[in-house]
């Protein structure tokens, strides 16, 4: 069954690529080069120092920004969600701030910090921060009352309740936020590099388009797709390990 599904998936991709190839060759337009040309450029461009010069800076910025967003978002979110008066106080502000499309903050970043790496990292962190924060808040708020009461009955201090009861209870929410945050960080890296940069994948794709290096442009997009796919797959693998208890429990109750 699984083999058949995989085979079917591969077949679909092959047919689509073949259709692309065929129509590109028939139409002979410069803007949509044949798949084979893109593939050749891709191999030539990315199995080289180009990866180190363009892809690596993007990834490093993204991880730096994502790390900042994760640490702050989870820590602040769980505390806010755990402490009801604080939640009531800050929730309206959070709802307002999270509504800002993160890309809109890039001009502010350029104004305040300039167009260096710091700006990009902070802009990525800003974008990823909100979904992580909001989901961590929700996760920490949804701890069953009985579980909190149990912690009090066994004489746990506030801080150990936060760390050993509320935080693990909030993990399913935290991971939902981390996942959305990851995809937003990925978007933010490309956009921020398109606006003010001298390297990185966003810069590379825009530069390719401006210099009519059309197969290179598509190659860059393909690389983004591959990186995005791998990041998500890696994330899901980690989540499945850490949240095995949650998935097991949900599977039982459904």
């Amino acid at each position: 069954m699984k083999v058949r599904r995989t085979a079917l998936g591969i077949a679909t991709v092959v047919v689509l690529l073949a259709a692309w190839e065929l129509s590109a060759r028939l139409n002979k337009t410069v803007y949509v080069p044949p798949v084979t040309a893109i593939a050749a450029t891709f191999v030539h461009e990315w199995f080289s120092a180009q990866f180190r010069d363009q892809a690596l800076p993007s990834l490093l910025r993204m991880f730096a920004g994502y790390a900042i967003a994760s640490t702050c978002g989870v820590a602040v979110g769980v505390v806010i969600g755990a402490y009801r008066p604080l939640y009531r106080l800050v929730d309206p502000v959070l709802q307002f701030l999270r509504a800002i499309p993160p890309t809109a903050i890039i001009p502010v970043g350029i104004l305040l910090i300039g167009i260096g790496d710091t700006m990009k990292i902070l802009v990525i962190a800003f974008g990823a921060f909100w979904p992580i924060l909001v989901n961590s808040v929700d996760g920490a708020r949804s701890v069953p009352q009985e579980r909190l009461d149990t912690a009090r009955i066994f004489g746990l201090s506030r801080s150990s309740t936060l760390l050993t009861v509320i935080f693990p209870s909030a993990l399913p929410g935290v991971f939902a936020g981390l996942r959305t945050g990851l995809s937003i960080a990925f978007i933010m890296i490309v956009v921020s590099e398109m606006i003010g940069s001298t390297n990185g994948l966003g810069y590379y794709i825009l530069q390719a388009q401006r210099t009519f290096a059309i197969p290179e442009m598509y190659g860059g997009i393909v690389l983004l797709a591959i990186l995005g796919y791998c990041l998500n797959a890696g994330f899901v693998a980690v989540e499945h390990r850490i949240l095995a208890w949650h998935h097991g429990q949900s599977a039982r109750t459904v």
């Binding site: 009461d149 009955i153 004489g155 746990l156 993990l171 039982r252």
Partner: protein, 265 residues
């Protein structure tokens, strides 16, 4: 093991009004529980039984009246008292194994590693779950999960266990098993039991004394002594004429129609 005569828990004129809703859940409740006694509180649904137990163990602040345990006023949950909730799925920690759950509160007690391992083992053996120590609670049946919650409470070595309808969400057979388990734990560990239930038969079967509550805002309508001796047996006790007449009397008091087949003339 028979109940002692020393009053362990003393509840006097306890009233609880929820500030958020203005609901007076319990009007005025006075009762006492003696050392190693098994006391049950029965009352209709929604009469404030959960509120009563949460107030007794210091999770909620009473509006009036007081609770004393061993002569000490209860204001926050004291380590000598543990409350077991009806909803085990919500009170257990699903990210910890069965043994991890039972060990969890012991970290507070500063036991040495070997000592707490022994306590966990003993508690799990007492509830018959020693073979399931490495499983996760959600991999077990409902009755077994409630036993994990009970083992966790017992391992903490409280003097008194408060049980809030602990067997309400398990099937009848499991229920009888768990009832006998609590009786055994009382004898084995010398733990005093205060159980809340809406099942009159269960209350009479388990208890040395039964307090009957009124509909909300609740007060104690009457106190029944249950002179059925220390050893209870699901079949013998439940067919004992004294058992039947007591449960009939309580049914009558609460004003619930008797299940026809079991009614005695």
């Amino acid at each position: 093991m028979n109940a002692g005569t020393r009053v362990l828990l003393d509840v006097s004129g306890l009233q609880k009004r929820y500030d958020s809703s203005g609901v007076v859940a319990i009007e005025s409740i006075t009762l006492d529980v003696k050392e190693r006694e098994f006391v049950s509180i029965v009352g209709p649904s929604g009469c404030g039984k959960t509120t009563l137990l949460k107030t007794i163990c210091g999770l909620l602040r009473p509006t009036a009246g007081s609770v004393t345990l061993d002569g000490k006023l209860v204001t926050t949950p004291p380590p000598e008292m543990v409350l077991v909730f009806q909803d085990y799925a919500r009170s257990l920690f699903p990210w910890l194994t069965v043994a991890g759950n039972v060990r969890f509160p012991l970290k507070k007690k500063n036991l040495a590693g070997a000592e707490s391992t022994r306590a966990v083992g003993a508690a799990l053996a007492a509830v018959g779950l020693d073979r399931f120590a490495k499983q996760y609670p959600w991999q077990l049946s409902g009755g077994m999960q409630q036993r994990v919650a009970i083992a966790r409470a017992v391992a903490f070595r409280p003097e008194i266990l408060l049980l809030d309808e602990p067997f309400a969400s398990v099937d009848a057979l499991t229920r009888a098993e768990l009832e006998d388990l609590t009786l055994r734990l009382r004898d084995e560990f010398g733990i005093t039991m205060l159980l809340v239930t809406h099942d009159i038969d269960e209350a009479v079967y388990l208890s040395d004394r039964v307090f009957v509550l009124s509909p909300p805002p609740s007060v104690v309508v009457r106190e029944f002594a249950i002179p059925l001796g220390g050893a209870r047996d699901q079949e013998a006790t439940r067919s004992d004429p004294r058992f039947l007449s007591l449960r009939n009397e309580i049914h009558h008091l609460i004003g619930r129609p008797l299940p026809a087949a079991e009614a005695v003339p």
